[in-house]
């Protein structure tokens, strides 16, 4: 599906640009886009490596076990195929913790390790498993406890109560996450032939 979306994005932008006469802008965007992607990777590599380094310490000292135990009621429901002291679940728990704390740069490397661990037991290496999809949905719904960046931005524009949107954010995140998970569970039953 990503193949189609990516292809269509590129074809649409070239078609649209030739109609609206912005082909020059698109041509520039091709070069700057590729360049910016590498700049972006360079800019996050430091933080990503720092976090994976720290997490190695947490793993060897058994700290990740403690976090996994705390989150086990959630992970048992969402990822029934893994035991709560497995490496997959430990990494998933670290990813969830980083997301809750609003540490996006830390959540990504934990997420990548979680995916790598889950892929080890994947019988079809090219096809996403049910657990992987649930995990991705968990990461596409923002589950941050305190949305500091948005509150800071609101404050800078003179909001009287920058945090007054927090309940609306929690309710929206949780409900949309539940909708996403139910959709995934529903669709995985329909697409049984892959299992």
């Amino acid at each position: 599906m990503l193949n189609y979306i990516w292809g269509i994005m590129i074809i649409i932008s070239i078609l649209c640009a030739s109609i609206t006469g912005r082909i020059e802008n698109v041509s520039n965007a091709i070069f700057s886009g590729a360049e910016n992607a590498v700049k972006f990777i360079i800019s996050i590599t430091g933080m990503m490596a720092l976090w994976t380094g720290l997490i190695k310490i947490a793993e060897e000292s058994g700290l990740t076990n403690i976090i996994a135990k705390i989150l086990s009621p959630v992970t048992k429901k969402l990822f029934p195929e893994f035991s709560s002291d497995s490496k997959e679940v430990k990494m998933i728990c670290m990813n969830i913790t980083a997301n809750l704390l609003g540490l996006g740069n830390a959540a990504t490397p934990f997420g990548i390790s979680a995916m790598q661990q889950m892929n080890k037991k994947n019988p079809h290496k090219n096809i996403a498993t049910n657990s992987m999809i649930i995990f991705i949905i968990l990461n596409t719904a923002s589950i941050q406890l305190v949305p500091t960046m948005i509150a800071t931005l609101r404050q800078s524009y003179g909001s009287r109560y920058p945090f007054d949107i927090i309940f609306a954010i929690w309710l929206t995140s949780i409900l949309s996450l539940v909708i996403g998970i139910f959709t995934a569970k529903f669709l995985e039953k329909r697409g049984k032939q892959i299992e």
Partner: protein, 175 residues
């Protein structure tokens, strides 16, 4: 208020390192071996990120998003979704920096405590850059068949868009 966020990272570092030393772990050696894996996994996502960011910048430069959002605003006007929110809804799943810039302009044009400003804040706070997460996580393990990951994630985004309008209306305007 914002000072909380400055404490999170240092506190986590202190907890991790103290716990490691208490358990007699060679903290620096473990750090190095973990960081090495981190560098490796970061660079494993380079190809997918180049593909995604290039396609998104092309789409933004082509003017397609403006055309698409003016088309959608005709449809959504009657559903009670404020017009300035529509470009944000389109950009949110595909570009993190682009949608943050849009939130910034909505807050400065309409005010953070206006209906549009609040809906935009809730929408930004309750969603992530879906395509970034999907590309990074699937790309990191070379998954080619994503099955129902994208439809389910996008449906969750769509419900966030609608729910953010509903909850702001309910909690702030009592309707």
């Amino acid at each position: 208020m914002n000072s909380i966020s400055f404490y999170i990272v240092p506190c986590m570092m202190v907890i991790i390192i103290t716990f490691g030393i208490a358990k007699k772990i060679d903290v620096f050696d473990s750090f190095i071996s973990g960081a090495k894996e981190g560098v490796h996994s970061t660079f494993s996502i380079v190809p997918s990120i180049i593909g995604l960011i290039t396609a998104v910048s092309m789409l933004k430069a082509s003017g397609f998003l403006d055309i698409f959002s003016s088309f959608l605003s005709l449809l959504f006007k009657h559903l009670g979704i404020p017009t300035p929110i529509i470009p944000l809804m389109i950009l949110r799943p595909i570009s993190g920096s682009g949608s943050l810039a849009l939130l910034d302009s909505i807050l400065s044009n309409f005010g953070p405590d206006s209906f549009a400003g609040r809906v935009a804040s809730v929408l930004m706070g309750s969603t992530e850059t879906t395509f970034y997460a999907v590309t990074v996580y699937l790309g990191s393990v070379n998954i080619k068949n994503s099955r129902h990951a994208i439809p389910a994630a996008l449906l969750a985004d769509l419900s966030s868009f609608i729910l953010s309008c509903i909850f702001v209306r309910m909690l702030f305007y009592g309707t």
